[in-house]
């Protein structure tokens, strides 16, 4: 009888250990982590195609941002702490076949080109918002990373301050962008909390 109790106790102990281990976030190496974040299967990338235009929205976890920064005076840990309470995205805009630079596509005059450029530089920020849970957030940072017509896509980097007390996104998020230049309507990129809360961690040796 005592043996039976001991077996049951051991089995339970093993089960608890296994479930505790499985609940822990995975740790990935640098390459694996980048691939994980950039893979559409993991719910951190959203892509919308409207006629011949493609809008790809990439959610960037803090570790992913730190990975791409070089020459920072802050340590990776300090920089990660700095990014706490914020959510960052890249919005990529390109022609579906990548055959032309978006700023130049279909323009008939220099004025038209400049109007587009100025819009992305100064005004597009007003057409972007983030629904976090039930709240609507406005950008705290916006950068238009133009490729100066060298690449077939344009990139917008946009950041939001999460509600007080939230270190990293744990609610459903939806980035909303109203495209006023290419007249493709409103683009919505959804990110489920299910995916946001199970983002693996980067191995410490790389941070």
């Amino acid at each position: 009888m005592t043996d039976m109790k001991m077996i049951i106790r051991n089995v339970l102990l093993v089960l608890i250990c296994v479930s505790a281990l499985s609940c822990r976030k995975k740790h990935l190496d640098l390459g694996e982590f980048k691939a994980y974040v950039e893979s559409k299967q993991n719910g951190l990338v959203s892509s919308t195609v409207v006629s011949e235009w493609e809008y790809k929205v990439q959610y960037k976890p803090a570790a992913y941002i730190v990975l791409h920064e070089s020459g920072s005076e802050l340590s990776a840990e300090e920089r990660s702490r700095q990014l706490e309470g914020t959510a960052w995205f890249n919005i990529y805009i390109k022609r579906k076949g990548g055959e032309a630079n978006p700023l130049r596509f279909g323009v008939t005059s220099l004025q038209e080109y400049e109007a587009r450029y100025n819009y992305f530089l100064l005004e597009a920020v007003n057409d972007i918002s983030l629904r976090y849970g039930a709240e609507i957030l406005r950008p705290i940072s916006y950068v238009f990373e133009t490729s100066y017509n060298l690449a077939p896509q344009e990139v917008i980097v946009v950041g939001f301050a999460l509600p007080d007390g939230v270190a990293a996104p744990s609610e459903d998020m939806q980035l909303v962008y109203y495209d006023q230049v290419f007249k493709n309507g409103i683009i919505k990129a959804s990110f489920d909390k299910e995916y946001l809360t199970k983002i693996p961690q980067l191995n410490n040796s790389y941070e």
Partner: protein
């Protein structure tokens, strides 16, 4: 020898097979699927249209506030300063004209952008549902009658709204 023995069964059997093939082919052609969709409801209940309306309404309300402000100023000076009242009346008319232009431009924007998004989605829906024709009823008499069996309006509205909220 074998054929001769079963000849009396063979011909009816071949006839049966041929009839079967003909029936299957006929049924296949009869399965060409048709759907009727209320195009006005589809347009009006598409969430992007509702979102765009809110944005355009916001732009118009800025004009409305300015018009109200000019109107209030006009009431103050109308009996005391004829020159100022005339200037304000001109300004009011110009502002009203701008507002009407903005309203028309907003409507055009909504129409163009909504159909730009809806058309490929309707096509995608048709392919996914293996439909051969989707008829858009618009209340102008193009569809005189259809029963619920062919009406897929609700289903299509759910489809396009789901695509809008969850990436395209």
């Amino acid at each position: 020898m074998f054929i001769k023995r079963y000849q009396q069964f063979l011909y009816p059997l071949i006839l049966c097979i041929l009839t079967g093939i003909a029936l299957i082919s006929l049924l296949h052609h009869q399965q060409r699927k048709l759907a009727v969709v209320d195009a006005v409801r589809l347009f009006n209940e598409y969430k992007m249209k509702l979102d765009l309306e809110i944005i355009e309404r916001g732009k118009l309300s800025a004009y409305e506030k300015q018009l109200d402000s000019i109107e209030a100023s006009f009431k103050v000076v109308v009996n005391s300063d004829a020159e100022e009242a005339r200037k304000l009346a001109t300004k009011y008319q110009a502002m009203k004209g701008n507002m009407e232009q903005a309203y028309a431009a907003g409507n055009q924007t909504i129409n163009e952008q909504v159909w730009k998004r809806l058309n490929p989605l309707v096509e995608q829906y048709g392919k996914e549902q293996k439909l051969h024709v989707i008829v858009g009823a618009n209340g102008m008499g193009s569809v005189l009658y259809n029963d619920d069996y062919y009406d897929l309006t609700d289903d299509l509205i759910n489809f396009v709204n789901d695509r809008y909220e969850n990436d395209n």
